[in-house]
Symmetry: C2
Subunit: 124 residues, 2 copies
């Protein structure tokens, strides 16, 4: 086998440490996993969505109440909730015309608290 190559390599340089590259490459997860992870973290990568999640961390809420609390339109909230729903981060229950959203599991809480931990520890 020739030198270790990557499928669509646009790298503009040579391998400097072939042993390290081989070691790492063997352990690198499949590409679709990193894609799914990135897509998941995109949901946490927006201030409005973080605040929305911080709301739901406290109490289930309907779209209108979230919109007023965050100072954004119902439409924007609805779009965000739709994205969060697609990734099973929130769930909802309908009560008449009103739909209450809440967090689907504890992962949001865990991710946010590790994020906060990092922010606190990396301040100096």
């Amino acid at each position: 086998m020739a030198k270790t190559e990557h499928s669509a390599s646009s790298a503009d340089c040579q391998v400097l440490h072939p042993d390290i590259v081989d070691y790492v490459r063997k352990r690198l997860p499949e590409s679709h996993i990193s894609l799914n992870l990135a897509n998941l973290f995109k949901l946490f990568a927006d201030q409005t969505r973080i605040r929305l999640l911080q709301c739901l961390l406290t109490h289930e809420m309907c779209v209108c109440d979230i919109a007023v609390t965050l100072g954004v339109t119902k439409s924007a909230v609805s779009h965000h909730l739709h994205a969060l729903k697609l990734s099973n981060i929130v769930r909802f229950r309908r009560e008449g015309q009103v739909i209450f959203y809440s967090l689907a599991d504890e992962h949001v809480e865990k991710i946010v608290s590790i994020g906060l931990e990092h922010l606190l520890e990396s301040e100096e």
Copy 2:
């Protein structure tokens, strides 16, 4: 006191449950915290950066080796590393012309593994 208002309210609706809104609003963290959190998670919200972090999760690496492994240019890798460095997610050490990057602490590992946990549990 008049109805609960928000500083720059572009909400296109009324509060439906004033008690819930008050309860949540009192507990909502300050705005700069959600901004910092969102900015932190932005670093995890890109497939290339996730793969880069997955590399460093395995072993410290230099810019060239990362570029070849991921199939992107040195420049792109350098930009990503710069962003990660600014948030204290990676650190580096120089050895001659070569700069080895590694993870600055265990937060990356924790965040990625909770992300993976969520992905596994939300598949059905």
